[in-house]
């Protein structure tokens, strides 16, 4: 579908309506990047598509604010993330990011690892396929943490580029990222604990026909994360 109502090239008549055409020409090539980002954020194809459409509509609406010659991709990604958080807030799943000492999260990450190995699930962790477990953990991660992990760890962007997209300070990227990684690691250990629990009780469960096991696809409640400190 073309925006052919602006087909004239007369500068004076087409000046204003050339905007949408120019927008489409410059912005649409990044649709794939935005779509991938949206999928990583929402973890859901249908919600991602809605988010992509919302992103491009908002971008067109704000097109007059875009500085000619500026980099359009981070601008689109920024709008996308903003819209994502807006939807998350509207759906009341948003929790404000705590601003702590990021190095404490590094420390807590190492300590949690220590605790996990001391509790005897080291072998399970070592054999665990982290990919699917991380997908599940990412889905359970609070929205404001997800963006920074997607940008820095999955997409490999610099703290500085992520900060520009997310509209936050570089220091906040660092603190959110460290906290997010710590939470992800905690979830991985929790899954490993569950797996160990399953394995250990499997013969008993089959004998006693107890069926109260947690299904493997169910997201974990955010319990027990704070005792890593």
């Amino acid at each position: 579908m073309e925006l052919d109502e602006t087909g004239d090239t007369n500068a004076s008549a087409g000046r204003r309506s050339a905007g949408p055409m120019e927008f489409e020409r410059l912005a649409l090539p990044y649709l794939g990047d935005v779509a991938r980002f949206a999928r990583s954020l929402t973890r859901d194809a249908s919600r991602a598509d809605d988010l992509v459409q919302e992103t491009f509509l908002q971008a067109l609406r704000g097109w007059h604010t875009f500085r000619p010659g500026a980099d359009i991709k981070p601008w689109l990604m920024s709008i996308c993330h903003h819209a994502f958080l807006y939807i998350a807030k509207r759906d009341a799943r948003y929790v404000e990011a705590p601003e702590d000492d990021p190095e404490l999260d590094s420390l807590a990450t190492a300590r949690a690892h220590n605790v996990a190995y001391n509790s005897g699930i080291g072998a399970i962790i070592d054999q665990m396929d982290l990919g699917p477990a991380l997908d599940r953990a990412m889905g359970a991660l609070a929205e404001h943490f997800r963006g920074v992990v997607v940008l820095v760890d999955v997409e490999g962007q610099s703290y500085e580029d992520a900060a520009a997209i997310l509209g936050i300070a570089v220091g906040t990227v660092r603190s959110r990222l460290f906290r997010a990684r710590r939470l992800l690691q905690d979830m991985l250990f929790e899954y490993a604990r569950d797996a160990g629990f399953e394995t250990a009780r499997a013969p008993i469960a089959s004998a006693s026909a107890r069926t109260s096991r947690r299904t493997s696809t169910e997201p974990l409640p955010a319990k027990g994360r704070e005792d890593a400190t």
Partner: protein, 98 residues
Amino acid sequence: MSSSELPDAAPTAIDCLTAVRRLWDYLDGRLSVAAHDEVEAHLAVCAKCPPHFTFAERMKRSLAERTGTEISSDDATRLRDRVRGALARFALEGDSEE
């Protein structure tokens, strides 16, 4: 990166606490050369800390491999058409409002 440094610049010995506080900065390559070398030197002699770094690195690497959210070309085409349609509608409505 530290291999090109002069060998006489021996890093200061740091303890486990200091080393693990630098875990993510170290893995992200955001430490100063001196701080980086201190961590490396600690990891070379410490029995407790290296597994934490190894696991954190493994998790980071697994995340980097998570780019598997590629979108099929059918989905991409469908999404592109949908967005272009929405943009066209918006442009028309926008024009009519002006």
